[in-house]
Structure formats: C-alpha cells, structure tokens
Amino acid sequence: MAWTREEVAARAAKELKDGFYVNLGIGIPTLVANYIPEGVDVTLQSENGLLGIGPFPYEGEADPDLINAGKQTITILPSSSFFSSADSFAMIRGGHIDLTILGAMEVAANGDIANWTIPGKMVKGMGGAMDLVAGVKKVIVVMDHANKHGESKVLERCSLPLTGAGVVDLIITDLCVMACDKANGGGLTLIELAPDVTLDEVKAKTAAPFTVAPALAEAA
C-alpha cells in the first residue's frame, strides 16, 4: 500500500536530527511537525521572522501579530526569537538552517525542482521557496509520485520553470524514497519502498532513470 499524506510526513520526520534548525513548507511539510521522533529536539523557523514555532494557540487566544509563513496563528516557545525579514533570510541564505522540507510539482534526476508557477495558469509567486532551496544545507521534497493526470512528477528534466537547479537531496513520495546525488550533478537512487509497493511499480511510474540501492535490489 502506498503511503498516505500522514505517512509521508512521518517518513520525512525520520530525517530530523537532534539539534536541527528546520524550515517546513506549506501542505504535507507542515504535517512533519506532528511526527518529530521522541528524544529529537528541533527548532522550527518561520521565514516571516520567528525561530522556535510553538503549537497552535488555544481557542480564543490567537494573536493576529503572531503567525507562521502560511499565515496561520501560532504560539511561541520559551526559546523563541523574533527578527526582521532580512535577518530571517540571512539565516536561510547564509546556510544556517540545517534542513528544509518542501512540496513540489516536479523534481528531476539532476536535482532540479519546480514548485512555484505554471505559466499562463497560476500567478502566485515563489515566496521564500527559491531562497530555501538555494541556501538550506539539506533539501527534502515530499509529494505525490504522480500528478492528478497520473503522470510521473519525478522526471529526467523539469518542464516547468525551476525554483532551483541541482538542489534536491531526497525525494519522499507516496510510493518510495529516492536520494539525489546533487554534489555530483545528480542521479537518483531508490533507497526505500512504501509497504507492498514493488520495484516494478516504481519503475513503471517514474519518468526518470534511477539505480536501486543494493539492499533493496537484493530484496527484490
């Protein structure tokens, strides 16, 4: 069975390490915060100017001056700090954030990611996504393996305008986990399958070449 959104988020949460500073994107990435492993202490950054995101406020206690980058009302923690947008992106662009988890419309074998626009259809803007993929030490993409037309979102090359070139480290979809060797120009390796998903199924549903990690190849 393929992973649900919640299971994809839980799988992504396994990539969190104690002491990490982390920026989570909107959508499935936000859910990752619900699955932080026991004993792992991470600090969540919100690019509108907060380090140390707390839980949602109790009913009746929401403060309009305290929101996350998705514009949801939130709270702070005893360790939190506030800062300006320029300071926030100095953290992101200066390589001080350890990990970012983002959604995507397309990811390519060379580590390219497209997640901000569909020309002629969607006028929204990239927000902080280009800064995050360019500046954060490790970039993880969580997404459905296929789009709503059933076409692979993992491609040899992206067709949509890029958010970043050669930036993705790990792809977690409803079917599998793939590593991208971005330091060496790309190349995907299948490292994990969702329960009951077969190697053949992933091969059939992936429009990019990939190698299979030895442990998986043996099992298959």
């Binding site: 009302t73 506030f82 006028v123 929204k124 360019a134 500046g135």
Partner: protein, 236 residues
C-alpha cells in the same frame, strides 16, 4: 528636536505623494500592515504607483484597496496569491508584476537602506529570476547579481514609537517593516502607541529614530487574521 509626531494619516502624508512615485509598504500577509496610511493614499488619488511589498493585500484589505482603485501600475512582491483582483488585473495586462524571491526582496531593500547598490546571491541561479542578470563564480559556486531597492516613501507599521521616532515592533508583525524603514527617502510610521522619549529601553529599539521622519498613532487597527488556527484545551 524636530517634531516627528503628526496629527493623523492625512497630515503625515501631506506633500509626500506624487504620480509615478515608488512606495514601500511593510507587512507579511495582513500582519504588520500600515492599515491607516494605505486608505489615505487611496483617498489622495495619486496614480501610476510602483509598490514594493511582500504581498498585495487580500480581498478587501491592505494594498488590495489601491489595486481596486487602479492606482498601482507596477507591483514588486514575492507572493501575490490569495488575491483574485490582482490575478484578474495581471492576466488582463493592466498591471506590471516583478516577482522576487522573498529573501532577495528583503535583501534588496536592506541594501537600498544601507547604500549598497548591488550584491550577489545563490538564490535564483539557473531560474527565470537570473535571466538577464550577471552571474559570477565565487569559490566554485555561481551567484547572481541583484540590485538595491529604494522608495520615495516607505510606510511601516510598528507597535510603539517614542517622540524621537525610535520604533519597537510586536512579534511577527515586524517582518519587512524595519528593513523598509531604512530604504525610504521619507519614512512614515504608524504605531499603536506613542510614548515619551526615555520610555523605551535603548537596548531594545528595533528601528533607531534616524530612519523615521514622521509618526502617527494608527487610526485603523483591524489586524485581520487570514487563517485562524486553534487547538482545543485538554480537559483538566
């Protein structure tokens, strides 16, 4: 000392507005918006504005007002979703749009305030953002050159000001406001409370008064919440 305290939005913008000018407006979404000054710009009827702001308001609120009145010619922003009017005007070719990565936008504004005409960043390399801009290699990595942003007038929202124009912001309503306060030829701040000099801790001033020319007490403080998210209190 020059008096920086003005009577209200109209007095604070008097003599500053002209057709074709560039205005920076603080805020992230609807948080930390200069809610009293924006309607005054609308009422002034000034036209062909270039507006620099992270977003373009939301339906009925913030900079949306200046879109509705068709006073904006060009918008420089990082994210203009959640705004149907913007999309309509843009797709109809009635509005120019320059999308910047949010960090590039913030740093361009910071650079403008600090007198730095250009800088290099990794953000946007290999994307449409870098098209037509110089790209240079530093220590084996490619970086794109981005230029400063400055404005004829910056309008910002703070929590408190003293009569010297020192500003303190509140929580995440700070966002772009302190950066924009440095990058306006004239900076007008609206605040929730004006206090005498000596009441704010000098160690905790976010925007030193040198950057702030005019201060008013906010006349509109709606602070609309875009996405109210709450949790239930566990039973004791």
């Amino acid at each position: 000392m020059t008096n920086k305290i003005y009577e209200g939005p109209k007095a604070a913008l008097d003599g500053l507005l002209f057709d074709g000018m560039t205005i920076m407006s603080g805020g992230f979404g609807l948080s930390g918006n200069p809610e009293s000054l924006i309607p005054e710009i609308r009422d002034s009827g000034v036209k062909n504005l270039t507006v620099i702001s992270n977003n373009a308001g939301a339906d009925g609120f913030g900079l949306w007002m200046l879109l509705q009145s068709r006073q904006i010619k060009k918008m420089i922003a990082s994210y203009v979703g959640e705004n149907k009017l913007f999309e309509q005007q843009y797709l109809a070719g009635e509005l120019e749009l320059e999308l910047n990565p949010q960090g590039t936008l913030a740093e361009r504004i910071r650079a403008g305030g600090a007198g730095i005409p250009a800088f290099y960043t990794k953000t946007g390399v290999g994307t449409v953002v870098a098209e037509g801009k110089p790209v240079e290699e530093f220590e084996g990595q490619l970086y794109v050159r981005e230029t400063w942003l400055r404005a004829d007038v910056a309008i910002v929202k703070a929590w408190k000001a003293d009569t010297a124009g020192n500003l303190v912001y509140r929580k995440t309503a700070r966002n772009f406001n302190p950066n924009m306060a440095t990058a306006g030829k004239v900076t007008v701040a609206e605040v929730e409370e004006i206090v005498p000099v000596g009441s704010l801790d000098p160690e905790a001033i976010h925007t030193p008064g040198i950057y702030v020319d005019r201060v008013i007490k906010s006349t509109i403080n709606e602070k609309r919440i875009e996405k109210l998210t709450e949790r239930k209190r566990e039973a004791a």
